[in-house]
Structure formats: C-alpha cells, structure tokens
Symmetry: C2
Subunit: 313 residues, 2 copies
C-alpha cells in the first residue's frame, strides 16, 4: 500500500510536510497542500485509520452489538442511534458476532452499545476494566465504565395488565420472550404481580419474540366457553401472531379474548380490532443510548437512564 513516505518522495518534500498537508495543518501553504493531495490521490493513497488513532486516540466511530436484525423493532432503534450519532459528529456501525468485538480493544472504535444477549458479561467487564466506555441496553451491570439505558418495562406492563383486569377477565395468559431476555423477564414479573394482586389465574407460555411463536402459543391455551381471557404478549410480533390465531379460529377477539402487546409496532393499529400495546419511542431510546456513550467517551459524568413507557386504554 502507498504510504506517506512514497508521496513525500514523489512530491519531493519531507514526510512531515506530507503529514501536515494530509492533516490540514496551517504549516503548509494552500498551494502545497493541493499539490500533495493531488499526488496522494493519483497514487491511490489511503489514510491509515490506525495511524490516525495513535495521534488522536479517537476514531469517532462507535458500534452497537445486536444478536439479530429480525422484526420491525430494530429499524427505528438503529435510525434513532444513527441520527443522534451523526448529530454528535460520530459514525455508527452495527455488529453481530464475536470477531468484530475486537474492534474495541483494537481502538478502531471509541465505545460500544450492547443489545445482544450473546455478548457475555465477562467479556464486557474485561473491556470495562481496560477503561473502554460501554452502554448496555439489555441488562443491569454495575461498573465504573458501564452505564445502562433501559426501558421502564414494569410501569407499562402493569398498566396493560391492569386494563385487562378492569375488563373482568377470568384468566391471564402471558406469552413470554426467550427465557434469558431481560425485557421479557421484567415484563412477565410485573404482569404476574398485577394478576396475583387481583387474584386472577395466570399462566406463562414461552415464546421467542417471533410472530410464529405468538401464533403457536394459541394452540397451547385451554380456552373454555363463557370465560373471558386476557392475553399479554410481551412483544407485538407475538401479539400479531396470537391475534391471527384467534381470528382464524373464530374466537371473539375484543370480547371473549382481549389482547395486549408491547412495542406498539405499526401493524397493531391496523388490526381489526386493534391490539392495544405498551408504547415508547424506540428512536428516543437509541438516541439516549448514543448520548450517554458520547458523554462517557468525553469523560463526562453520566447516570444510568430509564426510558419511559406508556399504555393508553
């Protein structure tokens, strides 16, 4: 690869002159800079990111780690992160997998956002111990260099289940996400709490946050005539699945079967009847996480943050 040494030779100037020219330093005249840039371009010179890092210690690139891109959920979240990053002069990359985790200790990125249950706690703590700034969106983790930006899962879930209780349901079904998922655990816990407080029978059916798992949860429900059932699907993909199941099986959705979801995906408002869902701004969640990370990179004080959720009956 062409280096600044080669450009210096070709331009017949010193290496430091080339360096000044490429870095926009005022120590070289505009004419010299233009001549050197033209030569660098002609020689297909590509600036060395790592080299620049050593000088600046920062790349102004941050990364978010995800386990999957499935569902409509991530688009808004990533766009919220992306827009805030651009606003703050940062660049966002999205990673999923283990090799790209090395970008952090390689100093190719300045900090990371984590929404990836497969990213082990031990590895995160190791990087935090080395002083790299980390923002987690999927777990609670206490460390000097780790901050969390988490959803207020409990408040929204309680309101959603209370709205079912208020409708006089005889039994509550909860369709959960993956067992180890932080959001799913918090939502389920809050739902069970509300059902217990009202002496309503409650059963959890395990799903995996996909529409298909919401649909097949329907097959596991034991529904008696003349009883009224509340179903709290812990995300909207699954709410859509169970809605479609109940419509197909000709249950009276909205009357004998009342469904609540979480995330307020676009499609839920177009269903007949609409599925009521706990909402929050995914865009804002992403933006808040990037904002926290940027402050940590700048060595400013940052608190853990909670993202508000709402439920409108």
């Amino acid at each position: 690869m062409v280096g600044i040494r080669d450009i210096a030779k070709e331009a017949n100037v010193s290496i430091s002159t080339v360096s000044y020219a490429l870095n926009g330093s005022a120590r070289v005249s505009e004419g010299t800079r233009e001549r050197i840039l033209a030569i660098a371009n002609e020689m297909n010179y590509i600036p060395n990111l790592a080299g620049q890092n050593l000088r600046r210690q920062k790349t102004d690139i941050i990364a978010v780690y995800l386990a999957s891109y499935q569902g409509t959920f991530y688009g808004e979240l990533l766009e919220g992160m992306h827009q805030k990053a651009v606003e703050l002069g940062l660049e966002l990359i999205v990673c999923s997998g283990k090799r790209s985790r090395l970008f952090l200790p390689q100093r190719l990125i300045d900090g990371i956002l984590v929404l990836d249950v497969t990213y082990e706690k031990e590895e995160l703590l190791k990087y935090a111990d080395l002083g790299y700034p980390i923002v987690v969106l999927d777990r609670q983790l206490t460390h000097e260099h780790i901050r969390s930006v988490l959803l207020d899962n409990k408040a929204g879930s309680k309101k959603a289940v209370q709205s079912l209780v208020d409708e006089g349901i005889d039994k509550l079904y909860i369709i959960s996400g993956p067992v180890l998922n932080h959001d799913s655990s918090e939502r389920a816990e809050a739902a069970v709490e509300v059902a217990k407080a009202s002496n309503i029978e409650c059963e959890i059916i395990e799903g995996d946050f996909t529409e298909a798992s919401g649909y097949s949860a329907g097959e596991k429900m034991d529904l008696e005539q003349d009883l009224k059932y509340g179903i709290f699907a812990l995300n909207d993909e699954m709410a859509l699945g169970i809605h479609n199941y109940m419509i197909e099986k000709a249950y009276h959705v909205g009357k004998d079967i009342l469904i609540r979801g979480f995330d307020k995906n676009q499609v839920t408002e177009y269903l007949v009847p609409p599925v009521k869902s706990v909402s929050y701004s995914k865009h804002k969640w992403g933006a808040m996480a990037v904002e926290s990370l940027q402050k940590m990179i700048k060595k400013e004080e940052v608190e853990n943050k909670i993202v508000a959720t709402r439920f409108e009956n």
Copy 2:
C-alpha cells in the same frame, strides 16, 4: 496494550513459543499452551486483529453500507445477509458513513456490499481497482471486481400498472422515490411505458420513500369526480401514506382510487381494502448478495444476479 513480548517475558519462554501457543500450533505441548493462555488471560492480552490479518490475509468479516435504517425494509434484508453470512462462516457488520469505508483498504474486512446512494462511484471504483471485492445492490457498475445483485424492478412494475389499466383507470399517478434512486427510476420508467402503451394519462409526483411523502402526494393530486384513478407508489411506505390520505378524505379507495405499492410490507395486507404490492424476498436478496461476495472473496467466478419480483392481482 499487552503484547506477546510481555507474555513471553512473564512466562519465561520465547516469543515464538507464545505465538505458537496462541495460534493453536502443535509445536507446543498442551501443558505449555494452557500455562501461556492462563498468563495471557491474566495480563488481559487481546489478540491483534491486524496482526492476524497479515498472516491469514483475511478477517472473515464483511460489511454492508447503508444510507439509513428507516422503515421496515432493512430488517429483513439485513437478517437475510446476516443469516447467510453466519452460514458461510462470515461475520457481517453494517456501516453508514464515510470513516468506516476505510475498513476495506485497512483490510479489516474482506469485501463490501453497497446499498447506499451516498457511496460515490469514484470511491468504489478506486477500491475495485485495488482488487477489493464489491457487490452493489443499488446501481449498475461494470468492473472486474464489482458484481451486482439487483431487483427485477421492471417486471413487477409492469404487472402492477397493467392491473390498474385492466381496471379501466382514466389516469395514472406515480409517487416516486428520491430522484437519484436506482430502484425508483427503474420502477417509474416501466410504469410510464405501460401507461403510454395504453394511452393513459400519467403524472409523476416526487416522494422520498417515506410514509409522510406518500401522504402529502395526495394533496398534489387533482382528482375529479366520476373519474377512476390508479396510483402506483414506488414503495409500500408511500403506499401506506397515500392510502391513509385517501381514507381520511373519504375517497372510495378500492373503487375510484386504486392503489398499488412495491415491497409488500407486512402492514399493506392488513389495510382495508388491502394495498396490492409488488413482492420479492428481501431475505433472499440479502442472502444472494452475501453469497456472491463470498465467491468473489474466494476468487471464484460470479455473474451479475437479478432477484425476481412478483405481482398477484
């Protein structure tokens, strides 16, 4: 940062012994390897990605460049890429911005996928000239090291517009995407062709692929009573926008106003009446692109590919 030199010193062995141990070479005994790994771990040693590249010449990481994450469109496409990458032993990262483009000439990634109108042709050709494998999803570009995987926009668009013509529309409105967008141009061109062949008046209203731009396109339409209009929105976000506009303004959607979209997003099938949309598998599109890129990385022959589109009336 801790290097293998430090580990060698601490373990009282040669640098090459450490290197063999870390790389799993059979030249060191299992006992030695375990001892060295324990020391490396204790010292917080992090393997150098760039150093490994120099030996292997490959990182098995590929990147896709996007301009935005907005909309439901990208989730499926990225999941298709991600799953295929994992299947092929590759890791996918998603980038948006200019600094991360340097990952390619820095050899941090083995090749790139491009669906980003802001990625200039000149920069792509420069990297292609240097021999880096590139797959484009958003343009036609001929180069030894560039292959395309593009949608068959024309076939789907023609069928969608023909279905409107067959319904006896008096005028066709096309709501386009951004002017420079490859998919939008191809779809619009095919639509105009069909309208002309049937002597149907045709007007293009510029949108930007967002729901809001579809909605506001409605305000620019000059709709007379007793006439029948066909609207071809060049993606489904805009189809949803114009559908909502027409419903709000109490037009007879499905009778006087017939809407067709492109992409077959989940929500279109739940609309009343449903919006008919040109469909294709975003998942497959992503998977095909990754497959082509992997072959190029392995120096195998690859043709340009076309992804089939369908329209069911």
